[in-house]
Amino acid sequence: MKHLLSAADLSLAEALTILDTAESMAQTQSRQMKKLPTLRGRSVVNLFFEDSTRTRISFEAAAKRLSADVINFSAKGSSVSKGESLKDTAQTLNAMGIDAVVIRHHASGAPHRLAETDWIDVPIINAGDGTHQHPTQALLDAFTMRRYLCGARDGAPAADGTTLEGLTVAIVGDILHSRVVRSNVDLLHTLGAEVVIVGPPTLIPVGAQTWKARISYDLDEVIRVDRPDAVMTLRVQRERMSGAGGGYFPSPQEYTRAYGLDAERLAALQDHAIVMHPGPMNRGLEISAAAADSPRSTVLQQVANGVFVRMAVLYLLLASDEGLEA
């Protein structure tokens, strides 16, 4: 595999290669000297057509710790109506001789276009495209689950080849607009976990019945019956409360009552269950402060693990002879 476009493209062996490599990367990062020479002389472009300080910084840190030169290209506010911008930008970068593109774009499929057209010929890493995919987020989530839900369940490094067989993961919130959930459903299924997606019916896409996940509209029932090992809450954008038809749900209060991870629901979880969130969080809406700050919360570990996973992806696509082939 030359690119990382979608979590659905990863075989079990490829996914485990990335996760195991990320553990190796993590080991190097406990040293005082964190920088590895692996990608010295290579340049990676962070091509961000959409604001995302967190993801950009994570990729930047990952690339820099592998000694790559990092060029940040922010095309914020560039209009979708003039399509030349993506093509011209890609051709410009190609002409400059860069070695990889990390792209965040508001249009679903934009990374696929970079990978499949003749605009540019370097590895493309999808850092989030529209409401489609965000594969490194799913990888860092899986990495986190391996550490906290497998083996000793204490956050220590997972053994090579650890899958998520036997785990149940509930993903709660705005499924319709979430690239995080699409990537997670694909990857978690590949790694052997059961996935339940939970949200109001207005925020679950028509067609999701075919996804490799069960659908529920009732978070309390999922917590009680499915006994999830992890509950991942998704950010609910404020703009979902207005717009066509007056919004996707009646009020933030009603949303929180039905789908917010409050103290009571937190207490109903199994002892070992963890609480995850891809950030940034709306405290008081989809997640309570009690849940966000509880010892179950792996929110900050997810951020830390993101750097290891992105180091692994950059390494495998740029430096390893095998690429992502396992």
């Binding site: 979708v80 993506l86 499929g109 276009r113 489609h132 028509v206 999701a208 996804w211």
Partner: protein, 434 residues
């Protein structure tokens, strides 16, 4: 004027015969044809063995882009594509810039068509001023102009205001006009990128639900019934739409319907490529919808095949999906797609093809001298097609100025060998003939 003796050709796929085209009409058929040809000077013989003769094709739905987007297509280049595709008449949609919402613009397009001379170009008039869906355009002036407009449409946009739709349907009764509706509820399709279903849920593209088309069609057939007017439904794309139209026809409502070649042939699975060449409005639907529109075309629920030929410049297609323009080329591939999906599958005869691609389209547009039977004395608008040919579609070999064919690289059956417009060969040996 050169006369043409077509020998051994199969009219509508029937028994082979000879046809003599002279003085703009079908002068003779059968054994008379060769004998009468002897009495004339300047006769060219066209070997018709193995070919099917059809009445010249009539398109209810093409975007020729002039005036305004001459970088994508002109009346001249679109007319060439039409002739090469076997057409002798096309209806040119009104969503140009300026919009064809006045007698002046429709007459301009009409005259450009006459000057090009490859096919008869019949301008479609806008229903509302500027396609904005607010005020009726001067439909009477367009009807009374040199362009003699009979079909009116805001195509590209839906006449969504029910009162405006009612008024339009009523108003055009005065000159036997028809309202051709682009059925799309705008609110249900805000930001829509593709058919809403399994594929859109995976691709993360905003869905265009079938109900947004079906609800408008349901409303419009009831309006047409209420005011006793003619309604034509453009580019029917869903199984539900076919059912509603079937029901309306069973009630005797004066509704006709169109399907495009691409909705007969392609599904939303193609969108997985994220290549905007497959982006079109209404969007490519599911395999079940494709089956339903084929069935509807075969059983007469859907009356015509209209190309919705929609040229777009490269910069509007060579981009990310969301930035891509809606529409695909169709004039030079329509007959092949209909042959592949309807004739070669045994669902329709060549006589049926003549009905849905020539006879009915002319009738809906009230074009008197097109879509006529192949009979002595009729206008010599004739298309010869070789049904045994196959061809690979190359985007650079089409006559359109734009290159956005969804069939690039595909092998399609059938090839247009010759097209005659009132006895003049616009296409001979598969090439344009001046």
């Amino acid at each position: 004027m050169t006369s043409y003796l077509i020998t051994g050709v199969a009219p509508l796929g029937g028994d082979p015969t000879d046809i003599l085209l002279a003085d703009g009409v079908i002068a003779a058929m059968g054994s008379d044809a060769a004998r009468e040809a002897l009495a004339r000077d300047d006769v060219v013989t066209v070997a018709g063995a193995g070919l099917v003769a059809l009445p010249g094709l009539v398109d209810t739905h093409a975007h020729l882009r002039e005036p305004g987007r001459e970088d994508a297509e002109t009346v001249e280049t679109g007319s060439r594509a039409a002739a090469l595709g076997g057409y002798t008449a096309v209806h040119a949609m009104a969503n140009t810039d300026p919009v064809a919402d006045t007698a002046g613009v429709v007459e301009q397009v009409f005259r450009l068509g006459q000057a090009a001379g490859w096919v008869d170009v019949h301008p479609v008039g806008a229903v509302s001023v500027g396609l904005k869906g607010e005020h009726l355009a001067e439909l009477g002036a367009m009807a009374g102009s040199a362009a003699r407009v009979r079909m009116f449409s805001d195509d590209g946009a839906c006449v969504h205001d029910p009162v405006l739709m009612r008024r339009a349907l009523e108003y055009v009764k005065a000159f036997d006009g028809v309202i051709a509706q682009h059925a799309q509820d705008p609110k249900l399709t805000q930001g829509a990128q593709m058919h809403e279903g399994v594929v859109s849920s995976e691709l993360g593209l905003t869905g265009w639900p079938a109900v947004a088309e079906e609800s408008i069609i349901a409303r419009d057939v009831l309006l047409a019934e209420h005011v006793g007017s003619r309604l034509h439904v453009l580019h029917v794309s869903t199984a539900g739409s076919v059912e509603i139209i079937r029901w309306a026809k069973s009630r005797g409502i004066a509704v006709t319907a169109e399907v495009t070649p691409h909705h007969l042939r392609l599904t939303d699975e193609y969108v997985r490529s994220y290549d905007p060449v497959f982006k079109v409005n209404p969007p490519l639907r599911t395999a079940a919808d494709v089956e339903a529109v084929r069935q509807g075309l075969a059983d007469g629920t859907i009356d015509v095949v209209g190309t919705d030929h929609a040229p777009h410049a490269d910069e509007d297609k060579d981009c990310e999906w969301a930035a891509g323009a809606n529409g695909m080329l169709g004039l030079q591939t329509a007959l092949s797609v209909v042959q592949e999906t309807m004739v070669d599958t045994g669902r329709m005869s060549w006589a049926d093809v003549a009905r849905v691609m020539s006879g009915k389209p002319a009738e809906i547009g009230r074009v008197a001298d097109q879509g006529r039977p192949l009979a002595v004395g009729e206008p010599a608008n004739v298309t010869l097609v070789d049904p045994n040919a196959t061809r690979t579609i190359h985007r650079d070999e089409l006559a359109s100025r734009a290159r956005n064919t969804p069939y690039a690289g595909m092998v399609l059956p059938g090839a247009v060998v010759a097209t005659f417009l009132r006895g003049r060969a616009t296409v001979l040996d598969g090439a344009l003939n001046r």
